[in-house]
Point group: C2
Chain length 512, copies 2
Amino acid sequence: MAKAPQTAITPTRADDYSEWYQQVVRAADLAENSAVRGCMVIKPWGYALWENMQRVLDRMFKETGHQNAYFPLFIPLSYLEKEAQHVEGFAKECAVVTHHRLEAGPDGRLVPTGKLEEPLVVRPTSETIIGATYAKWVQSYRDLPILINQWANVVRWEMRTRLFLRTAEFLWQEGHTAHATSEEAVEETRKMLGVYRTFAQDYMAMPVICGEKTPGERFPGAVDTYSIEAMMQDRKALQAGTSHFLGQNFAKAQEIKYLSAAGREEFAWTTSWGVSTRLVGALVMTHSDDDGLILPPRLAPQHVVLLPMYRNEEERGPAIEYCQKLRAELIAQRYDDEPIRVLLDDRDIPRVDKKWQHVKRGVPILIEVGPRDIAGDTLMPKSRFESTGEKKPAIARSEFVANVAQILAAGQKTLYERALALRADNSRTIDNLEDFKAYFTPKNAETPEIHGGFATSHFVETPETAEILTALKVTIRCVPLADEPGFEEQVPGKCLFTGQPTTQRAIFAKAY
Amino acid sequence: MAKAPQTAITPTRADDYSEWYQQVVRAADLAENSAVRGCMVIKPWGYALWENMQRVLDRMFKETGHQNAYFPLFIPLSYLEKEAQHVEGFAKECAVVTHHRLEAGPDGRLVPTGKLEEPLVVRPTSETIIGATYAKWVQSYRDLPILINQWANVVRWEMRTRLFLRTAEFLWQEGHTAHATSEEAVEETRKMLGVYRTFAQDYMAMPVICGEKTPGERFPGAVDTYSIEAMMQDRKALQAGTSHFLGQNFAKAQEIKYLSAAGREEFAWTTSWGVSTRLVGALVMTHSDDDGLILPPRLAPQHVVLLPMYRNEEERGPAIEYCQKLRAELIAQRYDDEPIRVLLDDRDIPRVDKKWQHVKRGVPILIEVGPRDIAGDTLMPKSRFESTGEKKPAIARSEFVANVAQILAAGQKTLYERALALRADNSRTIDNLEDFKAYFTPKNAETPEIHGGFATSHFVETPETAEILTALKVTIRCVPLADEPGFEEQVPGKCLFTGQPTTQRAIFAKAY
């Protein structure tokens, strides 16, 4: 057996995808576990990536007429209780504040004192507290719509956590809107799903399918839940964002009432929609390879890293000077309406460590600049979208500078196309249960994670359906929207699981 | 007695400053109290102001070499206990999470279950949890300095709260840095104090005095605490930002150790520094008048609001069209390196209500555009820095457009100079206790808030000093830094309170 080429990340994706993910997050310096169960520390490189995501999303929200605001971290228990399905959905994972003081106990150690009359829940989501506020703001139809977004931390006490994908505390944005009509609220729900699709595809270079969740998979308290679903490199699905049409459920629970133009008292129609730091995990699993993270240029904290190379102090001066000049030239170029982001890394650590650090962090373009490059005024840029082993001819500095934005744009496109091809290669329309079962059964006991991918099949959501899916560890991801490419036509067929006639098809997959 | 002119805010500053503040915050739509004790809802206009503050500060932090990161919301009780002074400072106001689940009790109502082995404190500040993380990150002197900032929410269970100034939950940034030497950490502490001073003066148009806190006023666990102190319009001081040199106290408690270049194991030296949404309250109290908020243009969410005026549908078209064209022209102008921010407000509500809404929200320039203005192509811009009653001649549209940035810059300067003059008029050097007492004793029982302002006096911090100050409800604000204008020379003198000789002078004031 030929010796496998050495990779920067151990294990590789093929060896152990789940452990590979943890190692990429660690090697890329994105985040780490903290001493507090399930809560992560987001490190500077990971946070810079999240900041870039925030900046783009925030602009998109504002362009669609939303404003930011901030609501309390704590939710009175009685608020949660007002919407029965909602509280049922979150009760099992709530961090509860019961005291507001610490005092020395008999053994000198501190104990909580000052018991609260009503316990407070650390927000797992804010429909109830925001709804209660909107109820005060809305009197007449003229006060509607309310289009507000909040950037915040939320807590859901998950038992099994994984960095970015599932953590007890995470960062997110939650949009909460209130409307005079059902139509307008539905339109808002769909519009924001579209914003998420655009963000995922155009910025994260991550193809997604927009669809509607089945009743069993809805947000607790929602009338309709829509999501964007992406395929990770292990063929599993990841729900990357959700948008909920809440009907009048929360408006009734929180009494968001308004006087209509006709003078009647009506309940408002509300929506909510959110994406979270989970997107960072999605990005890692969509693009990275066995050498670590690969960043889509539009979201990369740095586009180009320059590594000056020199053997002695004499060579150092010219190398630094050349890099500084190159950096200035690059910054003067624009990509995605902003200056190119360039880091000149002259830290006093071994060159090879430094180089691999940037490879593992997914920097799009890495350039080592040594005496020979300077003499010839040529560069050997290494692009993270291409195989690290590939040798390419040197190019003139001026040519690289002139083309840098184009190289980044091409890299962004390559990542998207690669992810799209993976999804296409691992998606199938399946019309009978035997094929469906075979599709989702690992081919090889040693690589249980290699299985089919996305299956599109006719279905009716019944207990029998659920039972078969649970046994296969497969979930219904969504019923793709009618305008989703490839799903425009709903043809009649028979439910794979019950044989009942139906026109509904859904995407099925194992999922995160 | 002449009838007082009508004001948009009741009561006026002179009548009841404290209530006036609450009414300005409310009338300007900045924030409101929530159903959760002491927690506020920051409304869109207030949050947009905070976002502008964040954007500027974040840029200043990055320009001084800091990166953002994010640390857990929860702090294990045992972490807090490690630094004795620190825990003592915060124990009385901690929100404590004791359970991680809710279940129906005997009466069907939800009760907290799933008791945690160790209670978790909702962060009142993050020195301990961040210090514990740094301890893992630092091995050698090459890992230092660590220069990190966090934007986050924190909770301090205050008993008496006031919107922005003192709330149980607030938003802030907390910088946390670790260094190899004491000198470097002290330099960092002072540098960030300088950043705060620049921000307060150049952006908030709020003069501040930079100084060192006396031992009795230090941050719990700090070796030195520095602050910026501002004078509000009621002559009271407000601490607007702090920067702490923590020495090795937290490094020892959290074991942040490193191997020095000489190969010795050493404890790191740390700092922390922060400003919060309290700055919004400071801004309100520095500039607003009896008609509501006045915003410094550099931080205003909108610079110009255009109000089209028309009596019928026929007039509406041309008015809107004219305003849209004017808006486009204004946006093409730049102020403070950014496009002018312009709102065209054509909401269907009574014009006079709309106008006063923007006055109360502090929009720098308000322009009502009616048929006569359009016919003459002239405008009557009303600037919020000038008295609302003042009549000014109309100016040509083109002239206004060409000068808008200059008008905003002049407004920014006016606000700063007005605040500086107020402080100068209400500051005194006082050399004997009788004068000091008289200075801080209200002249009139009906207006107890009208008192001296800032006093600069020689002092030694003793129990006797503290007792006299407590009786007068006066506090030592800070010992001004030697480079603070007017305090360059430390002349010897006698402590006002004890008669002991000293070279120390401090600023004394009643304070928020």
